[in-house]
């Protein structure tokens, strides 16, 4: 490649680099400094772990995200492999419907949970008919859990289906002909084969649940997860330093989860190939 090409490439890359530095890296650096300039000084970054109020919300956010990830992977794993492995009438429509909510924003997901389990929702109507009591759980942690599983299913199913397409059915047949039962095949052939997909989809699911805000905002800002705490610190307490420090802690955790999954998935892929 010639010398003139190098100049052209620099010219093509420059606009994106400038915008990215000016509007992302520099503001983030500024926020990092402000995070350490509040009443607590640099201690604000430690307060996320030592101050009970922040630590509790941090723990519940991590537990919620981990639970959502586990449930979503189980649901999407079963449905995704099923849709990829079986051809039947309506299969394409079913796939399309399952991936329809892919780009619904968090606020709309929150509203979907209200339609399901809110005061005038479907589930309370059903439980009233069955037991005489209205089971309303939309405005609590259970509602948030439902909402996060709702928005994680479509994207996870797509990843699982793409990975299941690449699984070689001959390995399963070989295992079966060697006498492995159905559960053995699932445990020893299908799940290991889908491991890279589970890792990457799981990491994205976890990271999205950690940082999601719209659903909690719609259901009730009182639900104590880290994003709502950050929002309250910033808007109601006007404590920009603490909000900044907490969002850095939150960002660091999600980024670490994604990086960890990528290295894990990367090494598995390398070992397989």
């Amino acid at each position: 490649m010639g010398r003139d090409d190098r100049l052209w490439l620099a010219v093509l890359l420059a606009p994106a680099a400038i915008v990215f530095i000016a509007f992302f890296l520099l503001p983030l650096a500024r926020l990092f400094l402000i995070g350490g300039s509040g009443a607590l000084g640099w201690g604000a970054y430690v307060a996320a772990f030592t101050e009970p109020r922040y630590f509790r919300s941090l723990v519940s956010t991590v537990l919620l995200s981990a639970g959502v990830t586990a449930v979503t992977l189980a649901i999407s794993g079963v449905a995704g492999v099923f849709l990829q492995r079986n051809r039947f009438r309506g299969c394409a429509l079913l796939t399309a419907l399952l991936t329809l909510p892919l780009a619904f924003p968090g606020v709309v997901i929150g509203f979907m949970v209200i339609m399901l389990a809110g005061r005038q929702g479907l589930i309370p109507d059903i439980t009233e008919a069955l037991t005489g009591e209205r089971l309303v759980f939309a405005y609590s942690m259970a509602g948030l859990f439902t909402g996060y599983v709702y928005f994680s299913i479509p994207r996870t199913i797509l990843t699982v289906m793409a990975a299941a397409e690449k699984l070689d059915p001959r390995i399963e047949e070989a295992a079966r002909s060697l006498g492995a039962g159905r559960w053995r095949v699932v445990r020893d052939v299908i799940v290991p084969g889908l491991k890279p997909a589970f890792l990457s989809a799981g990491a994205i699911c976890f990271a999205t649940a950690m940082g999601a805000f719209g659903t909690a905002f719609t259901l009730a800002t009182r639900i104590n997860v880290l994003p709502t705490v950050i929002y309250t610190e910033f808007t109601l307490q006007a404590n920009v330093a603490m909000a900044g420090a907490l969002s850095f802690v939150l960002g660091a955790i999600t980024w670490a989860a994604l990086a960890l999954a990528r290295t894990a998935a990367g090494s598995t892929v390398a070992a397989a190939g």
Partner: protein, 277 residues
């Protein structure tokens, strides 16, 4: 596909089908209920209270401006990500070394870290610039940061799957300049990726809330911010009608996205040389 469909399905098949249908119902039933509620005179009394478009009319009078603003931001965001992202993706595809890999990693950061953090960072840095803070361009900046990685990745995926080097060397040996090669060879070859990326960018921008809630001002309310507003303060029917407006805008885009994905998959299959079976 080598497998043949057997006429007799096993019990496990039916169990899995039932499970998948239940998951589908979990996702789709609330959408249906919400559409119904938006068209019902009184959702509490049920469909017997009559179907009406009064809620839609109310939403359109009160919140029309949010729809216009969201579409304007989404289109401007598309133009920005095309101008910034497509050339950047090309550079990343051409030069694969430690520097460009780091760059690729960095570009994805606005998706990896929570939108609240990015919005706070923008506010502490540029919040003091009054006219900029109050204009819709402030929201646009956040949306461009958030959607740029999707455009870059989508185009990059296509560019790394084709033999760009051979194509470019061929054109070069025939005397094509860099500009001719970029517009004559690179862009036409990655149009599938550009299309998929564009649909993604517009869809994500229309639905962005996490950042926009902090970046917006009362005069720059977008559609999702308006939705949150009605969910919190107005009756269920109005919120549902407003959601219906959002669905009418977003669902065609989602369907187009699925169509584009299957289209690019089928063209990729056609391009691949025939294999022995």
């Amino acid at each position: 596909m080598s497998r043949t469909v057997t006429a007799r399905r096993s019990l496990v098949f039916w169990l899995q089908l039932a499970f998948t249908l239940a998951v589908c119902a979990f996702l789709i039933v609330p959408v249906g209920l919400s559409i119904l509620a938006g068209l019902t005179a009184n959702f509490f009394l049920g469909i017997d209270s009559g179907l009406t478009t009064q809620w839609l009319a109310k939403v359109w009078t009160d919140y029309r401006h949010t729809v216009y603003l969201s579409i304007r931001i989404a289109l401007a965001c598309l133009v920005c990500t095309l101008l910034l992202g497509v050339p950047a993706a090309y550079v990343l595809a051409r030069r694969q070394n430690a520097f460009t890999r780091t760059l690729e990693e960095l570009l994805v950061m606005p998706v990896a870290i929570p939108g609240l953090a990015t919005a706070l960072a923008l506010i502490v840095m540029y919040g003091g610039w009054g006219d900029f803070r109050r204009s819709w361009l402030f929201i646009l900046v956040g949306h461009v940061l958030f959607t740029l990685p999707f455009m870059v990745r989508s185009v990059l995926a296509v560019l790394t799957s084709i033999d760009l080097k051979t194509l470019e060397e061929g054109a070069r040996s025939l005397g094509a300049s860099f500009v001719q090669r970029f517009f004559g060879i690179v862009l036409p070859n990655c149009r599938g990726g550009i299309l998929a990326g564009s649909l993604m960018v517009v869809t994500l921008s229309l639905g962005e809330f996490n950042m926009t809630l902090l970046l917006h001002t009362p005069l720059t309310q977008t559609l999702p911010v308006g939705l949150a507003d009605t969910y919190a303060s107005l009756r269920l029917e109005v919120g549902s009608a407003y959601t219906l407006v959002f669905f009418i805008i977003i669902v065609p885009l989602l369907v187009a996205m699925q169509w584009a994905a299957s289209w690019s998959a089928s063209t990729a299959r056609r391009r691949r040389p025939p294999q022995q079976t």
